[in-house]
Amino acid sequence: MSEPTKHDEHEHHIVSPATYVVIFLALLLGTAATVAVSYIDLGVWNPVLALAIASTKMILVVLFFMHVKYSTKLTKLTVASGAFLFLVLISMTLTDYMSRAWGRW
């Protein structure tokens, strides 16, 4: 076969059930935490904290359940560029709304 040196960037990595169990418990813990926090009045920090916990859970799912931590650089780059593009679209839409009629509806 050709060029065995460079192509073996990764062999198919099997994530162990133990890892899945740990992530599962962490996700349940995150769910409990976000519900508990929602009962405390933190003003503007309520949405911030809720989204922070949701994003932490999202990252756990992406890295471990979706195996991104163990995948090729191509996959990692694809996922990262997707997240980046999503944030760009959100912030550019917001810039537009905020610079036109924000607070005057």
Binding site: M1, E11, H12, I14, V15, S16, P17, Y20, V21, I23, F24, L27, L28, T31, T34, V35, S38, Y39, D41, L42, G43, N46, P47, A50, L51, I53, A54, K57, M58, V61, V62, F64, F65, M66, H67, S71, T72, L74, T75, T78, V79, G82, L85, F86, L89, I90, T93, L94, Y97, W105
Partner: protein
């Protein structure tokens, strides 16, 4: 065919190793096939991010425009069912991850068990969603249909169950109360599109259970199970955000 191509093909055929039936002939190795389909699946998921992103964007803007209506609208949702459904969906993601592992280590019995559990959790999720939607229907909170009622928002005391949990909710002026319809429109659009993805998911799961029974995924061919897993986890992630945004962030105004 010219002689030179025949020779080239002959040379190629010699290099061509025995390969498993599930390896398409245009891929050099199973690994390469796996990477290519995995990449394609992620590209599909990115289009899904953009699709749901539009809904999230609309929610962000609308919530800022009609903040009081969105706060009191969200008080109509049940934290209990929302939390239960989040736990169910996370459990289904876990069993799906275990199904992928079962396919990788070629254990057919365990693959069937975990696919079936994922299917059951998927149905439980949809059932709970059905209970919640039905309550909105009964309270005339389905926008655009069936005589939308603003009674609970112009007079919170008329809805004793919610009023007990949120005694500080003030009566909204009629025009703002009408904007709760926007909240429920987005609620149904977002949870509805999410549930549609779940319906597609459980349909594919049923198909996969039959193929798994025939032993199709436990002979080294994990691509389909792996990529379906990506889809299922993605739908889980959407719910994680929907739960936070629709149910949790507006409990205190």
């Amino acid at each position: 065919m010219s002689d030179s191509t025949a020779i080239a093909n002959g040379a190629l055929a010699e290099e061509h190793h025995e390969h498993p039936s599930y390896q398409r002939h245009h891929f050099e190795t199973v690994d390469q096939q796996f990477d290519a389909t995995n990449f394609a699946m992620w590209l599909f998921l990115l289009t899904e991010v953009m699709f749901f992103g539009g809904l999230f964007m609309a929610y962000l803007i609308m919530r800022n425009w009609y903040y009081p209506a969105f706060v009191e609208g969200s008080h109509q949702l049940s934290i209990f069912w929302g939390t239960a459904n989040t736990a169910v969906l996370i459990a289904s993601s876990f069993t799906m991850a275990m199904a992928v592992w079962s396919a990788e280590v070629r254990r057919k019995g365990s693959l069937l068990l975990f696919l079936s559990l994922t299917l059951v959790f998927g149905f439980v999720f949809l059932g709970i969603k059905g209970i919640e939607w039905h309550e909105k229907w009964e309270k005339h909170h389905v926008p655009g249909l069936h005589q939308y009622s603003i009674a609970a928002f112009i007079n919170p005391a008329s809805d004793p169950e919610v009023h007990k949990q949120y005694p500080d909710d003030k009566p909204l002026p009629a025009d703002m109360a009408q904007k709760t319809e926007e909240y429920f429109f987005l609620y149904f659009a977002m949870t509805g599109m999410h549930a549609l993805h779940m319906v597609v998911g459980v349909s594919i799961l049923i198909f996969m259970i039959f193929r798994a029974k025939a032993g199709d995924y436990t002979s080294g061919h994990v691509t389909f199970v792996e990529n379906f897993g990506l889809y299922w986890h993605f739908v889980d992630i959407i719910w994680i955000y929907l739960f936070a945004l629709l149910y949790l962030i507006s409990r205190h105004s």
